[in-house]
Subunit: 90 residues, 2 copies
């Protein structure tokens, strides 16, 4: 399955969420990752995500498509790259 | 067509981009909007977006699917709502 995950997470937890998501998916943009996951990879990611998130304060959206073939993607402009705060996790 | 648009835009231009995107699409999360657009609506949006963006500094990702039926969506947690800086545009 192809996933697009976007997140808006409190700064107390955001670096842990970023780090986790980047283990499984490709960084696209600040707060956006995407890529293919098997069902077991998704379950593992989901389990770890649920441990980190405070569901009363954080928000994650998971879009799932059977394949990236069902989605066209267009990028406008220039990705800003990983921020300095992310260097810790590369 | 169903669109998911995410953006990472310099603060000099971000409020204009937010305001424009919200005319056409539903606010989902900070820097994420989605919804259905006809081809002519998309062209109109795209034209206006191209006027605002500095493509050497800003980055917008447009995911397009024939229908939202081809995408499953799951939300975890609580949307934080429009930030205070957005109140100007409601």
């Amino acid at each position: 399955m192809f996933y697009i995950i976007t997140y808006d997470v409190n700064e107390m937890r955001v670096n842990r969420v970023k780090k986790l998501l980047r283990v499984f998916l490709k960084w696209d943009q600040n707060s956006v990752v995407s890529g293919d996951l098997t069902d077991s990879q998704y379950l593992e990611l989901r389990k770890e995500l649920d441990k980190i998130l405070d569901k009363s304060k954080d928000h994650v959206i998971i879009f799932k498509s059977r394949s990236s073939k069902f989605l066209e993607r267009e990028d406008i402009g220039t990705p800003r790259g990983l921020g300095e705060d992310d260097a810790l996790f590369i």
